[in-house]
Symmetry: C2
Subunit: 396 residues, 2 copies
């Protein structure tokens, strides 16, 4: 019994993704990297901004004494202060550094949050389709993920969320801009969600948290992302620099809590403690220093906007229906009905592979009959995929 | 109920440590930092070697395209290969990069290991005194930490370990050089432990792992640290650059498994998967690149050796009994009997504070009546503490 049962089972589905990943590598070896239309991974190809490089070199040269040592588990106080200013601006609230805990990316932050707020057996509600890792992030801490459907346009279905609430509900996760749909939840949706939760709190005495996973906040095209912290008292934002500065490998992000959140000091101490005992100990020191000097920086979002527009042209030409993303860098598309009547997403992804197009089945986000294409790849690849898409749909 | 019950309870003891930490800061403000003899924290003050700085600056200037993006969850293949060479040399085994998984420090590595190998209800055996975070690292994944005493000289008590084994035993943790005792387990101790575990495996069909936590391997004074991977098939080493390169804030370390370990591919995949779903995703990218070029580097251990010798002079002069450490940077000391007969470690630590000496009660390591002093502080502070120690013992 060398591997835990839970992990062994999870590895089976993980190995499917790995297989897909390895097949992609194989295809690129066989046909040349520029001949494969790889829209499978959310790994930003846009370089970090020049300002990042400048700060990296500057801090490397300074290499201040003690700057790679331990700091308080919640992060350097001066970094937390710098990040708080960004949170004030983005969330339209007044917070200082004591409301911010530095995290090892949003994934690290979410694990610290769920460790902190979930008793074993608690429930966390998520709207489907969703980033499937949430399932593991909650299960890690003994909580159960409860899935509810969104509306047809991928906005929140508040009736379903309301029905799913009970005294075991620790939190509702929202992810806006959304992976995989690119949906941004409106201010009025957030306000309505807040009312439902406030009502629930009156009924049961337990106010569920809103945990807002916002790594794509900066990547919004047609509108601003409404600020959750201004809408609901028991709200926690988790974010990272993985997308906004293209630093996903560096594992740097943060948690920010509402200025009026209950038991704030206990909660912040608990978040720092969870960060410590989960083995993060603290967010990486050098990257903390770097991002504290880059709170106003972001990659050039117009690059992604252009790619979205190019990809939409391709999909239109091929006759594939899609949800027009307001943010993030994914196109979530309906599987067209095949000649044999099939709308199976895994089959369609397999079929696309024959045309050297790689994507991810919607089943991987709890939404069969849909597929996700990531457009964090060179515009040339998107344009070049036109004929492959057209042929693939013709022969499907 | 804003914080999980388990965390709320843990925060009570964590807040004691925080209180101590804050009192230390307060004392330094009040009396001046150089007047307080702070031996409480294991935060290395020795600068990283010059080679670290050089590689940091070199890689910052190069800032290769894509070098802050995602890589496979187990780490960059070229980094794993580089680390494998170090593992071969230190552990006297033949492994390539496929036997290494990069981790966010040893704490991150240990969490990934316990997530991977422990079913809920499994047991992990540890020898007391021990680094108390192991309790959380196992509890995080539903496992139970079983404490057994060491012998009087802090070597492993193999009879007690043998008695504690049962079919639920997933692993035995060893930590050598040891925090807090500085003990290094001998080759024959490791061989004997291996025989006991092999016997156990024959009896129950389940071979427990040895999980060897080795962040202090490079900090050994009078002997080499015997290689666990050469002694026992089901062995896993977890280590970091926190002490050997003085980079604890950067969260960079690794996991290495025995070349003959059972189901190696599954195990390695599971370790990478656990790294991902616990929210580490991967060890920080930039630091991975840096340490891959520094596998032969270490801070100057003679600095710690000199401090140990100086500290021992102080303790001898004050009449405090101690365990002579073979490695790490801690002196584990017996609480002298006070005038009122007390040998209480917490009381003694409180008493020392009056003389501006800060240490950690042995109870924090499962060993009351002992205290730990960390000597990863300037030699001047150690020397200057002489009179304070003498006075403190006189008035105890």
């Amino acid at each position: 019994m060398p591997i835990a049962e839970g992990i062994k089972n999870a590895l089976v589905s993980a190995s499917m993704i790995r297989k897909m990943f390895e097949e992609g590598i194989q295809l690129k070896k066989q046909h040349g990297a520029d001949k494969v239309f790889d829209f499978s991974l959310g790994n930003p190809d846009v370089d970090p901004p020049q300002a990042f490089h400048d700060v990296l070199v500057k801090l490397a040269n300074e290499d201040e004494k003690g700057s790679h040592g331990y700091m308080p588990n919640g992060g350097y106080p001066f970094v937390r202060e710098a990040l708080a200013k960004k949170v004030c601006r983005e969330q339209n609230v007044k917070v200082d550094g004591s409301f911010v805990v530095m995290a090892a990316g949003a994934a690290g932050g979410l694990n610290a949050v769920f460790k902190t707020i979930c008793n074993p057996g608690d429930e966390v509600i998520v709207s489907r389709p969703y980033f499937m890792e949430y399932r593991a992030y909650t299960a890690n801490h003994g909580a159960k993920l409860i899935e509810v459907d969104t509306k047809e346009d991928f906005s929140l279905n508040l009736d379903l969320i309301k029905n799913a609430l009970n005294e075991k509900t620790a939190a509702v996760i929202i992810n806006s801009p959304n992976n995989p749909t690119g949906k941004i939840y409106s201010k009025s949706e957030l306000d309505d969600l807040a009312s439902i939760l406030n009502e629930q709190g009156k009924k049961t005495g337990r106010l569920p948290y809103i945990v807002s996973d916002e790594p794509y906040r900066e990547i919004a095209y047609d509108c601003e992302v409404p600020p959750v912290l201004s809408c609901y008292k028991e709200s926690i934002v988790v974010s990272s620099y993985s997308k906004s500065l293209s630093l996903p490998g560096e594992r740097i992000g943060f948690i920010a809590v509402n200025p009026d959140i209950s038991d704030k000091d206990d909660l912040i101490n608990a978040l720092a403690y969870s960060t410590r005992i989960l083995g993060f100990v603290n967010a990486p020191a050098f990257m903390q220093r770097i991002v504290s000097q880059l709170t106003d920086e972001s990659i050039d979002v117009s690059i992604y906007a252009r790619r979205r527009d190019e990809f939409i042209k391709v999909l239109n030409a091929a006759g594939i229906e899609y949800n027009n993303p307001q943010g993030a860098f994914y196109l979530f598309c309906k599987v067209p009905q095949g000649k044999n009547g099939s709308t199976d997403d895994k089959e369609f992804i397999e079929h696309l592979k024959k045309y050297l197009i790689l994507g991810v089945p919607g089943s991987g986000f709890g939404k069969p009959k849909w597929v996700r294409f990531a457009y964090c790849v060179d515009e040339k690849i998107i344009k070049a995929s036109l004929n492959a898409f057209i042929e693939a749909v013709k022969t499907w």
